[in-house]
Symmetry: C2
Subunit: 239 residues, 2 copies
């Protein structure tokens, strides 16, 4: 059975303006590979309701799971929860269970649960909350869309909260080696090898290290016996 | 006049599998902000012809410029040039000007211009070459699609080659400050400020530094007088 498929949707002007380097896609890609879920696409859109709605609808209908990052904080530009609710045809309002989580958290530190912070309890009708062990304000799952925070430490904690509930397939594994030849010399034997292992995918990635050029050749797939055999052949060919 | 718009398309299994952290989107975002071109969207797709074609067609019709990264090397999984040609309805073959560039480059190092390396001279009919001062193999522009290499040093060199030929608008500038308050305390006054500067966009980004929580508040826009005035107000409000 093929693995379930997934897409990542990063939401935030700060990524597109060049202020912030998105670290969440890289983290999710590694976590999904290990969980046996195939990340097929990632998108970044701005803090714009129409752009978020269009992307959520396109990705949630094309893939088994969608993971979003960003735009669920307390400020005026945090519009992800409302946009996702609209994209999925659900109503949204402050929900009592989410409000209670925030109230308990801010009580402890003597911080006021003001109107801005209460925005973080806006949860679409029918959504399941995602635990946030870092700063309490929950993410949520509605349909096949997992809505998570953009702050990397919180995003990672939410991925750890959400992933165990998903059924993955075989983990995506890789075997590879560094070859001190140009990619153009590796290409023909690698293509021939790839043709004989249709269950694997092969990639080659040029590098430069201490002034020496080389190529990292890599096989990826779910069949560990085939990966071991391919690595042995790569070592023979290029070692 | 509004600034021209742009999208980034990153092509490569190595990003979606979690092997490689994409650095090119961040670089392009900063370069486009400085050039007065608004990066509106970024996507990552795998080394799959149908996925590349669909993304190129969607982005090239929605935005003024598209920049792609990855998949133009010598190996069997480098299919970007052919996929972009199909997406744009052009034929593609080894082109003499590109072949001559490669031949001159490999002659110097005594490296064979073999069949694999010759793949890098496949250029769609009617495309303009983009100079690659790092490793010779050119990128190209076809229609509004700029096709560039994935290796970060080469991508950056190609962006530097390609950007001066594009007409940008006013650069996107930002002014901001770090506030040692929670984002929930900053939210209401920041929203009030944002409402009075409709020509700017405002963002807030929580941080934790040496165990202290704070919020980076930021205004972005093309109007430097408005940005200066907004920064003065932010300093007054939060300083």
């Amino acid at each position: 059975m093929p693995n379930p498929t997934a897409a990542m949707l990063v939401i935030g002007d700060e990524i597109l303006s060049g202020r912030t380097h998105d670290a969440n896609t890289y983290h999710l890609a590694g976590a999904l590979s290990a969980a046996g879920i195939d990340l097929r696409e990632a998108r970044v859109v701005s803090d714009d309701s129409d752009a978020i709605i269009a992307a959520v609808q396109a990705l949630s209908s094309a893939y088994d799971h969608v993971f979003t990052s960003g735009g669920i904080g307390p400020t005026h530009d945090d519009i992800t929860a409302d946009a996702v609710a609209r994209a999925m045809g659900r109503s949204i309002d402050v929900r009592e269970d989410a409000r209670a989580i925030l109230a308990a958290h801010y009580d402890k530190s003597g911080t006021e649960l003001n109107e801005a912070r209460l925005r973080m309890a806006r949860i679409p009708e029918g959504a399941t909350l995602i635990d946030n062990p870092v700063s309490a304000a929950p993410g949520f799952v509605i349909g096949n869309v997992h809505v998570m925070a953009g702050v990397p430490a919180i995003f990672r904690a939410m991925v750890a909260s959400a992933l165990p509930s998903l059924t993955g397939g075989a983990p995506l594994m890789s075997r590879g080696l560094d070859v001190y030849r140009g990619e153009g010399d590796v290409a023909a034997p690698l293509a021939e090898l790839a043709a004989r292992y249709p269950q694997l995918t092969f990639g080659s990635y040029p590098f430069q290290r201490d002034g020496v050029h080389g190529t990292n050749v890599l096989a990826r797939g779910q069949d560990s016996a085939a990966l071991d055999a391919a690595l042995a052949e790569m070592s023979e060919l290029f070692g």
